[in-house]
Amino acid sequence: MATSDETDDRIGQAYRRRVRTTVRTAARKFRRAARPLWDRFRFARQDLTAATPTLPRVAYIFIAPFFLLFSVFLAFPVFYTLYLSFFEYQGVGQGSLFWVDLGPVYLEIPKIARLDFVGLGNYARLLGNDLFWQSMFNTSYILVIQVPLMIGLALALALALNASFLRLKGVFRTAIALPVSANLVAYSTVFLLLFNEQLGFLNYVLAGVGLGPVPWLTDGFWARNTIIAAVTWRWTGYNMIILLAGLQTIPQQLYEAAEIDGANRWEKFRYVTLPQLKPVFLFVVVLSTIGTFKLFAEPYVITGGGPTNSTITIVQYIYRQAFVNFNLGYASALTVVFVAVVSAFSVAQIKIGGED
């Protein structure tokens, strides 16, 4: 057996050597043939390098592509939304807003839309609109219940996973963080089924303990809670990851010192963990608050904003006004109000994040 293996090996080696030699020869021939072409390419590249701007100006070339896209698709739309909020949208624009005729070069910027100026009319309209206030109420309701519930769970999980006695930490952490990877619409469709009144798994389990079918999707109160449950499922693991990272930065000596002083579990949590974790904790709260304000996919898929608008969120109301009713001016005014609220929270976020 051994000898035959050796023979095989020797044959294999000889074969490989021959292949290698053939390939090398072919490559050498090819290189010799291609040298003039290659040299020409190298000279051209050197010329190009010599022509590229040196230090002081090269930075502009680095930022140019980013800045171009940024100006057209980010900076301009921000101001255009503000502009649009003072107008009523009449239709797609015709004719040009601005043009330069330089003989061979003709530049034209077309009108984006036909608009009627209404001043602050859109803002007056939204303040008097019941559905706007309904969407504000729904969003606030979800916010007030969902954010504390989720952060509480996330904090408890982070503390548990940070406990020294817990085994299988990696497995638990992975399992709890798994929903982070779930596509928003995909997981929403799963919840649509999970909370189905007749077929849903949840009502089946509740029936098993003698509770009876809960109208998760057809009753306004329960539908809001369904949204809360879905969002909590998706984002608890996300917040747990951030809180866990925060917990792990707390120096162990602080706990040891507290122990020497005879602190019990609650006192260690209250006087060491909480104050040390405060910046991360506040940060997570603000992040979740902003996330809840932006809620769209979940109510769109799970409840469609219903029943009778009891789960419609601000973004969903904006979407309906803009792209179902084509009240783009009014929807822009709604957007400006929405952004003002969210930005206030975001500024708080950056302030809190920048503190440490």
Partner: protein, 278 residues
């Protein structure tokens, strides 16, 4: 002492019970999805529900494929997300390098202008972008989905922060050796940024993968749908076929779950970086 030990045992038990309950809560929807995707519709509609996976996944998939070309939908989503991620990585790392390592006029104002847009929710851009795309005749195209978000403020912010840590002496010595500025960027700066680039790539990919409102407005025909839009259309039909929807949801979720399991470290650093915590 014994009292203390008993208390500790109770505490441990409660901690385990809580963590395991939460794991079950997190797993049930995913398991339920898999069961629903593998059962024929009639079996699925039975009461009490079956809790063991069946074998009808491929049949359900064929039925789904007949109603909406979901393979194409997945291909669209992957294509858009990959192209977007690569493009945005190039733009963000180039610009981030300039902001970290060069001095130029208006550097601070430009950077703060970009940074200021970080606080703005992307929903702000949907209406004007819709009008812009309509004017450019770009509605129902992939470039309309990819380009507007390629200049990603989070990306440039992270790249600038990380590239600041590259020692100037390293760049200067390359310059002495006659390297051009672009060579310094892609031969020296970029290779040191590998882990930050991986984290940013995950942030960008997931951002585009989950984008819903904007493609909903821009994409019009079924052959252009991304996964979220295709799924939302399936739930909007007159008759809802749960088995098919769950097949589609499984196809949307399972690959990402696998990716998460494989690249967990990068996902976590992506989450931590994306939440702007340095």
């Amino acid at each position: 002492m014994r009292e203390q030990r008993r208390k500790d045992a109770v505490w441990r038990f409660l901690t385990y019970a809580f963590v395991i309950t939460m794991v079950v809560v997190m797993m049930v929807p995913l398991y339920w999805m898999l069961v629903a995707a593998t059962l024929p519709q009639e079996q699925f509609l039975q009461f009490p529900p079956r809790l063991i996976p069946g074998t009808a996944f491929l049949d359900n998939f064929a039925a789904l494929q007949e109603r909406l070309d979901f393979v194409r939908t997945i291909r669209n989503s992957v294509l858009i997300a990959v192209v977007y991620t690569l493009l945005s990585l190039v733009l963000c790392s180039m610009a981030g390098f300039a902001f970290a390592k060069y001095e130029f006029k208006f550097k601070e104002p430009i950077f703060y202008a970009i940074l200021a847009t970080l606080v703005l929710p992307i929903q702000l851009l949907v209406i004007p972008l819709f009008l812009l795309m309509a004017q450019l005749d770009w509605t129902n195209t992939f470039r309309a989905i990819i380009l507007p978000w390629a200049a990603n403020p989070i990306g440039i912010f992270l790249m600038r922060q990380n590239m600041k840590s590259i020692p100037d002496a390293l760049l200067e010595s390359a310059r002495m050796d006659g390297a051009t500025e672009f060579q310094i960027f892609y031969r020296i700066a970029l290779p040191t940024m590998r882990s930050s680039l991986a984290a940013l790539a995950i942030i960008l990919f997931l951002f585009q993968w989950d984008l819903f409102l904007y493609p909903l407005v821009i994409l019009e025909t079924a052959d252009m749908y991304t996964i979220p839009i295709g799924l939302a259309q399936l739930t909007g039909f007159q008759r809802i076929y749960y088995d098919q929807i769950m097949v589609a949801a499984t196809l949307a979720i399972v690959p990402m779950v696998v990716l998460f399991l494989v690249l967990q470290k990068q996902f976590v650093s992506g989450i931590l970086a994306g939440s702007l915590k340095e």
